[in-house]
């Protein structure tokens, strides 16, 4: 049985609508990522996202090759993505064993990783001294994208104000009322984003530059 998506793809292909085609690829990026993650049994690395690029190309290839006889498009696309990723892996293995890869680059990345890891571990210790943990942060983070963005912004702004920082560190408590007044955000919002604001302020204060770089 043909799905709505199958019909849509056939229609897009017959009219050769590039814009719709691009939007479709955009919309199905999470699908591509999920296929790779499932195949790999681990997450795709942001710094080394060749696999994701290959997956997207494979998805495009699947779109190009698709016709009614292929049945369900998503099953077909999954097969194409899996096969292209496997091709890439065997090629990589070959390059690795024949020393075609530059080891020095890997070496540098390795140092960076160790330092970042150290920062995260130190960050956790500071959080603990505030009676906070990553678990709590995960369970109480604002879940709406706009609220998240706002919380991060307030945190970065508040980190620039010496007195707010001193208050946070001496009393181990976020000065919610002062933040609400100073940045003209209601108390509800500050209280709601309390944990995220606190964690951002700690990252700035402790000069965890690698973590800061990640959120900025």
């Amino acid at each position: 049985m043909r799905t709505e998506l199958d019909n849509k793809i056939i229609q897009i292909k017959s009219t050769d609508n590039k814009e719709q085609m691009n939007r479709l690829i955009e919309d199905y990026q999470p699908f591509v990522l999920n296929v790779i993650t499932a195949l790999k049994k681990s997450y795709v690395d942001v710094d080394n996202d060749d696999e994701f690029s290959i997956g997207l190309m494979a998805f495009y290839e699947a779109l190009e090759k698709y016709n009614e006889a292929r049945g369900d498009f998503l099953s077909f696309a999954r097969l194409v993505i899996q096969s292209r990723i496997k091709d890439y892996w065997s090629q990589q293995k070959y390059e690795y064993t024949t020393n075609l890869r530059e080891d020095t680059v890997i070496e540098e990345n390795f140092d960076e990783k160790v330092l970042l890891r150290k920062e995260i571990e130190d960050f956790e210790k500071v959080l603990n001294s505030f009676g906070l943990s990553f678990e709590q942060l995960a369970d109480r983070s604002p879940k709406h994208a706009d609220t998240q963005k706002r919380a991060k912004k307030i945190g970065l702004q508040a980190a620039e104000q010496e007195d707010l920082m001193t208050h946070l560190y001496t009393k181990k408590r976020l000065p919610v009322t002062q933040i609400s007044r100073r940045f003209k955000v209601s108390l509800v919002i500050v209280k709601r984003s309390k944990i995220t604001i606190t964690s951002v302020m700690i990252i700035v204060k402790e000069k965890f530059s690698r973590i800061l770089e990640w959120i900025e």
């Binding site: 990026q29 999470p30 999920n34 681990s42 160790v114 706009d146 964690s199 973590i211």
Partner: protein
């Protein structure tokens, strides 16, 4: 949407990542996930911990207070639901309006002058806000998007106050008119269903009323809450009358403040809606607290071998609580 996360913690069955937005999420555990790794994931990988309350302790305190008010108001609401036809519950069910792919299930008109409209989705999260008059356009309210309805109303009152729209010299004169409109797509509504809709106390509307009324506890204004249909909203907009006043029979331009300054108009409003007087609310909370204390006292009396002492102790406590209540209101 593809998300990017920095692995900060590994537990037995999941991974905690810090997103590039600075917040934290739990995702499914997979092989080779070391601390410090930057990874790509999707909504599908998210793990929610249902056992953990999403509110911090301070919020819980607020909810305790709110639930006291809830009980008090329930009585009033029950009265008005008694004569409603159960078939009217269908009103909230066929919802068609959408905003960027998100279904809008509720529209909330907030008239203080300035006047705003909040559009909320099925989770009662505000997905869009509209400024309805010139005064409203002077205030940037975009930050309410993403909040719950009751938080959004509270935030709007706060912003209006900041912008000087709330009379600080005569707080009793401040009214915030909240009109709840279910975004059902019944474009043709006859006279009869108008009347029916006015009384339509669907469970959903009731629930929202309670929430809105509860949030009055932290405001320094009076709240007036009522309901209207989408058709009435359109007509009221054309005539530039706050929809909550329109359903109370006002057919010419009038401000919320002027309307509620007259006792007889307040009475008319109460036929369809509820007026929550700021002071009445405080009194109600205090009464409820005192009642609680009395009950506690009784229990203690029964248990305590020395009733005299126990009573003294409790009186002190009640005094203290009253003080706390006052502090909160300010």
């Amino acid at each position: 949407m593809i998300k990017k996360g920095l692995v900060v913690k590994l537990t037995q069955d999941h991974i905690i990542v810090m997103t590039d937005q600075g917040d934290y999420e739990r995702i499914a555990r997979r092989e080779k996930a070391d601390i410090g790794l930057k990874i790509m994931y999707t909504e599908k990988d998210l793990i929610f911990n249902p056992q953990i309350a999403s509110y911090s302790k301070s919020y819980r305190k607020y909810f305790v207070a709110a639930s006291i008010v809830f009980v008090l108001i329930m009585g009033l609401i029950l009265q008005s639901t008694l004569y409603t036809d159960p078939e009217q519950n269908l009103v909230s069910e066929n919802i068609e309006s959408t905003e960027q792919g998100v279904k809008i299930t509720t529209i909330i008109a907030v008239d203080i002058n300035p006047s705003f409209q909040l559009m909320a989705d099925v989770n009662d999260t505000v997905v869009k806000v509209r400024s309805m008059n010139d005064d409203a356009k002077t205030i940037d309210v975009s930050s309410v998007v993403g909040l719950n309805i009751e938080e959004a109303i509270e935030h709007i009152v706060y912003l209006a106050d900041e912008a000087g729209f709330i009379d600080t010299t005569d707080e009793a004169a401040n009214y915030v008119l909240v009109t709840i409109i279910m975004a059902d797509d019944q474009s043709e509504v006859d006279e009869e269903s108008y009347a029916a809709d006015l009384k339509a106390n669907t469970s959903k509307v009731n629930e929202l009323r309670e929430k809105v009324q509860n949030s009055a506890i932290v405001g320094k204004v009076n709240f007036a809450v009522t309901t209207a249909t989408k058709e009435q909203l359109k007509e009221a907009e054309l005539k530039k009358i706050p929809v909550g006043l329109y359903v109370s029979g006002i057919k010419k331009e009038m401000t919320v403040k002027d309307y509620f300054s007259k006792e007889e108009q307040k009475e008319v409003f109460k036929e369809n809606g509820k007026v929550i007087d700021k002071n009445a609310l405080k009194d109600a909370v205090r009464e409820a607290k005192e009642k609680n204390e009395k009950n506690e006292k009784k229990e203690k009396k029964e248990k305590s071998p020395n009733p005299g002492n126990s009573q003294k102790e409790n009186q002190g406590q009640s005094q203290q609580n009253r003080g706390n209540g006052k502090g909160k209101g300010q």
